[in-house]
Every structure is written in C-alpha cells, then in structure tokens.
Chain length 348, copies 2
DNA sequence: GCTGGCACTCGTCATTATGGAGTGCCAGCG
DNA sequence: CGCTGGCACTCCATAATGACGAGTGCCAGC
C-alpha cells in the first residue's frame, strides 16, 4: 500500500496501534486475549497470535520473555508515532491558561522557566526549554560605566524587557567621559542592528587599520567586542518537573534514575540533543535509543522549535518514558512552542 | 560525671562511639561480637551485650529487628556528634584547592555555585549554599537608563564585581536628563552607604513632605525605592551534587528519593531550615527528624554560617544520610564557610 | 563484675511447588 | 485459504519450606 510498509497488512497495523495504546495506558505486556477483546477488530485470540508473530518478525513488537504478552519495540513506537497516531486535540482551556501564564510581562529567563514548569505540569513529565538565542535580536543600546581602575561595566540593552550586563576587565583606567564617548559612538553606529551583524562589523573594524579611526573609536570597538564575546551565562536550558519521572515504574530503579539525573545535571548531552532540533524541521521525536544517549535509552524526547520572526531561536519539549501518551503530549508541546514564540515576539 | 549523662558509664560511651563509627563506615547493624573485636576495650561479646542493653534502654541505639545488630538512634547520633566525636583535621592540600577555586574573580552567584560544587565534590554528599544577603553591602552607585515609554532600567552597582539591574515600570516617560539628574542626586546622597540604611532613608524621605524636595528629587527617591524593593531573584540558595545521595542504600528507594528531590525543588523547606542557621551560633547539625521536615527524616544536615565583616550574610552546608562521616564532613563545612567569607570580603 | 554457654529469634537465601497468563502449533471448519 | 478452537508447553510470580548464620537474652560459674 505504501513503499515503506510493503509487506504489512492494514490489519497488522491496526493491531499494532491497539497494542501500543493499551501498553501505554496500562504499562503491562499485552496478550492476544486482551487484544482480541479491545482491538475493535473481531478476531479470535488465535488469529491475533498469528498476526503478532508477524509483527514480531518485523521487529515491531517483542515479548519480554516467553509467554508474556508483547510490548512495542523502538521501531514499533516509531511506526505508531509516524503513521498510526491519532492526536488528541488540545482543549481550549489549557491553551488559554498557557497563554495567560506566558504572555504576561517576562524577561526571557523567567519566560523560559515558566514555560518549562507549564510543560511539566500539564504533561506530568519533565519539561525542558532552551533560552532563546540572541544573535538575531537587535541591539538597542550600549552603555559603559566605570567600576574601578580595571573594571568597566557594559550594559547591553536588547529590548525593553531584556538587558544584559557584563563586567569587563580592562588594562587601564577609563574616565567616565571617555566611556560616554565610546558608547555614543557605538550607539550611533550600531543601535538597532542585530547582534550577529554588530559582532561581524566589530571584527572587521578591528582588523582594518582605517585612518579615520581615532583612539576613542578604537577603544569603543575593542570594548564592545569583549562585551559581546563575554561567555554567555552557563544555563543554556531550563528543566522542570524532573521528579515526575520518578512516578514511572520503568524508570524507577536507582541505577536508571541516577544516570538520568546525572545526565540532566551535566547538561551537555541534553544540549547536544536539543541542538539537533534547532535545524530539524519542526517537531521532532526521539524514541528510546534513537537519541543516541545511553541515559535516555528508556526515555522518549518530544521537541519543537520556537520561532521569533520566523527564525528558530530555541527549542522546547518534554522528556518522559518511551511509554508516554504521545497523542496527548505532542499537541501540548506543539502549542507551547507556538505560544512561546508569540510571547517572545516584540509587540509594542 | 556530667549533669547531662549521670547514669551512663564511660565504657558505655566508648562502645556507643565504636558502634556509631562502625555503622557509619559499613552501613550494617553492628553486633556484640564485632564490637568486642573492634571497640579497643577488651571485653567479651557477652559483656558488650549487657552494655548494649543499657544503651538501648537509654534510647541511644536500637535493633532494626530481634537478633540483628544495633544501630544508633537519632539521640545516639546526637550524643556521638556532641560529645564523642574526634574530628579529623582537614588536610592542607584540600584547603588550598578550595581557596584557589573560590578566591578567583567571581561574582557572588558564581561564587556560590562553585562553593556548592566544591562541598558536594569533597564530601560526596549534596552541597548547599545560600546567596549572600545584600542588606549590609554598601551601594556604590545607581544609574538609570530609559528603555521605553514606560520602562526604566535601574543599575545598582554594589561592588566592582557585583552589579544588579532591574527593570522598573513607570507611569510616565522620563527623559534621559531627568534620569541623569535623579541618579546624580541619589549618588550624592547615598553612595557608599549600606543598602538597608539607604532603604530606610528612602522610606523616611517618602513619608516626610519636606519643603526642600523638588519634583526631581521626589522622582529619584521613588524610583530608587522601587529599584531596591524589586523582588530579589528567585534562587535563594544553590544546591549541587544531589545525585550523590542516590549512592546511599538507605535513601535509594523511589519513595524516599522522590520526597527528597521534590523537597529540593520546592526549596521552601530547605530555606526555612537554613534561615534557622543564620541566627544560631556557628555550626549547626540537624540529625534525622530533628530538622522537623519529613523529607529529611533519613538525612542529616550540617551547616555553618559565613560572614563578611563579622556579620553573617549566608549559610552553607551539606545534606547527606544520617549515617554520614561527621568527623570528615564537619571540618570541611567549617573550612568552606571561612574561605567563602574570605572570598566575599572586599580586598582592594 | 566479667565470661562462656545455651536456647531462641529472625532475616537471608536457595529450593520447591503451584497457578496463571500467554504462546506456538496443528487440525478442522467454512 | 484464512480463521478458529484446542492442547501442550514455557515461564513468571508467589508462596511455602528449610537450612544457615548472625545476633540476642539470660543464667550459672569463676
């Protein structure tokens, strides 16, 4: 019927769907008798068994041991998610709640935190949201303030809700008026242009040895450069509701939990995974080992990028057991990403 | 021999000490035979048993069930910690390491984070450090910058490594020069005075209807007041190494873990507990239920306040199982508190 | 007051028995 | 040819059993 599944009958797919749904709901291996009752198809357990044997041969389901029922394999879940899933439309009241919580006055850090809690609260899984990338945000203004002989405070105003400051270590003392001149120059040059552009211009300026650059300008450029390059603050994403994962039988043994939580704290692996989602088109789902990280072997990750001005600036999603309620989770993640984007868009 | 322990023999105490040490080391109930071998005292198991019966009557030890060995009760640990403990002096290289890690250029947030990781790394428990209170820090300078019609950015310079900014929502637009005047006025008035003092002055100014206050001054005062009162950022303490706690058998069941980690995320209870330590004189130890929080029933908390200019500005410590190596942990927490204080003290 | 001895209590661990759920296969039916 | 009922078989879970060892409490004797 389809190039992807040439040798797999409609009926088998139907059964895979029923089996997966049941397993997600109950968490127990599903037997032929149960499936015969619940699949909707009217076949005897024996028939079901034959089909199940086929599905097992195809690697879509497996039995934990002889004479237990079957559970979906990663490939089984994959097929379920890709072609069988009937997503549950999100009820309007939830959307409203999210919108009101996210659409109030927030700086981006608190927006991200709230979004993360919302995700985890609604899905009862772990929520995860990256901080929005700033490269394409425009620089509204720069100010420098002298702090001490060797330190200067740089204030970068990105929007009227978003301000960053960085303390620069400088070689020599600068007077207040020097700094004032520098920021005047920079504001004239760069205000309103986006950060990435600004950074590139600065580098160009520093390389060129233009005759028309006086000492002040040189100072200004150098200072701006170090202000922009100062390490981004450590937290690249925010997680919430990790403890929700302790609810699930299949994750609840000390070894698994330990690995998982250490991975969360380490952040690096999660970050890599999320980075992949920035480029990938739209929503992405990693099931079990698909993620490639051992700590997530028993977990699935559902992510969606969120955008400002049509440009992807971050990723959000949830982490839960492979056996999560995809049909419920997917629309939630999707909606959250859209609302998040909307909340970040400049309005006034 | 002492009003507190009139009816308890030196020998019994000796045994309590040996038993506790052994239990802390091995994590298994300790029997009379073992104790007879290891206590240093030369008594037969039978004698030891008699003494142990006494200790049990006094509520210092108990057996998990008939015919298991004994383990210390909370009161047992209490007596052990208060009067029997021989603390292990801290080796110099560890202290050096801590000093170099903490004494480098840090703002207070990153200082706290590093201290917390250090504590957890060295003790293999969970480390916990509150952010330093700012009330007694002096205000070096204030600046205001206009952001948009209804927003003003306030920058509070506290030291040359410590800057805070707050976005104020204001009723009407202010011009740059108005704001400049306001900050000039405030700097003249308050620069170098401590935050608490400044806050009090501001309130006094706002209440009084002094004739010599012009509109500019009034603006300045009101703005400074809202800048100072803006909610302190959410994180009041920083934890690290929570996952270390998963190493311990006695904490490692899902229910306990869940309670514990949810408590950590909730922060409130931990915060209350730490608040008690600000006032308490010096190092404090909560053993098991002594803390009064159910989530910590199986844990002990060792804390020490850290000071700047002889004033307590924060608390740090570790959380671990009741069965932690107090004699090692106590000097570590103590040293960390001192080094932390030193690192926070203004130097230049 | 200390000690060795003895009976007793429990928890741990491995073994065994039992029941139930589920499978695979086969023969028969439409 | 596809579906079905029947049947033997496998394997997990649970409980029951017994041996073992660690540890206790108590007592009589030194």
């Amino acid at each position: 019927m389809n190039a992807n599944k040439p040798d797999i009958s409609e009926r088998a797919l139907q059964l895979l769907k029923a089996l997966t749904e049941r397993y997600i709901r109950e968490g127990q291996p599903v037997g032929s008798r149960t499936l015969s009752r619940e699949s909707g198809l009217n076949f005897s357990p024996a028939t079901i068994r034959n089909v199940m044997a086929d599905l097992e041969d195809l690697g879509l389901i497996r039995s934990p041991h002889t004479s237990a029922g079957r559970i979906p394999t990663v490939q089984g879940y994959r097929m379920f998610v890709d072609t069988l899933l009937t997503v549950k439309p999100l009820d309007e009241s939830t959307v409203d709640r999210m919108r009101t919580e996210l659409d109030t006055d927030h700086d981006s850090k608190s927006l991200v935190t709230t979004a993360s809690s919302l995700l985890s609260g609604i899905t009862h899984l772990a929520g995860i949201v990256t901080l929005p990338r700033r490269e394409h945000a425009s620089l509204k203004r720069v100010e420098f303030l002298p702090l001490s002989e060797h330190r200067v405070l740089a204030v970068l105003v990105i929007s009227d809700r978003e301000v960053q400051n960085r303390i620069l270590n400088v070689e020599r003392p600068y007077t207040a008026s020097e700094l004032q001149q520098a920021s005047n120059y920079l504001n004239a040059q760069f205000a309103g242009r986006n950060l990435e552009e600004v950074r590139r211009s600065l580098i160009r300026d520093m390389k060129s040895d233009r005759a028309d650059m006086d000492r002040m300008m040189r100072t200004a450029v150098e200072m701006a450069d170090s202000a922009l390059n100062a390490a981004e603050e450590g937290d690249d994403f925010v997680m919430a509701g990790e403890t929700n994962l302790m609810e699930f039988e299949e994750l609840c043994n000390p070894a698994t939990l330990r690995q998982l939580f250490e991975g969360f704290n380490r952040k690096r692996d999660i970050l890599h995974l999320l980075d992949q989602c920035v480029n990938g088109a739209g929503m992405q789902i990693f099931i079990g080992e698909e993620s490639g990280y051992q700590m997530l072997d028993e977990c699935s990750v559902v992510t969606a990028p969120y955008t400002v001005d049509g440009r992807v600036v971050g990723v959000l999603g949830v982490i839960g057991p492979t056996r999560m309620a995809y049909e419920r989770v997917i629309p939630i993640v999707d909606a959250t990403a859209r609302i998040m984007g909307a909340a970040l868009n400049p309005r006034e």
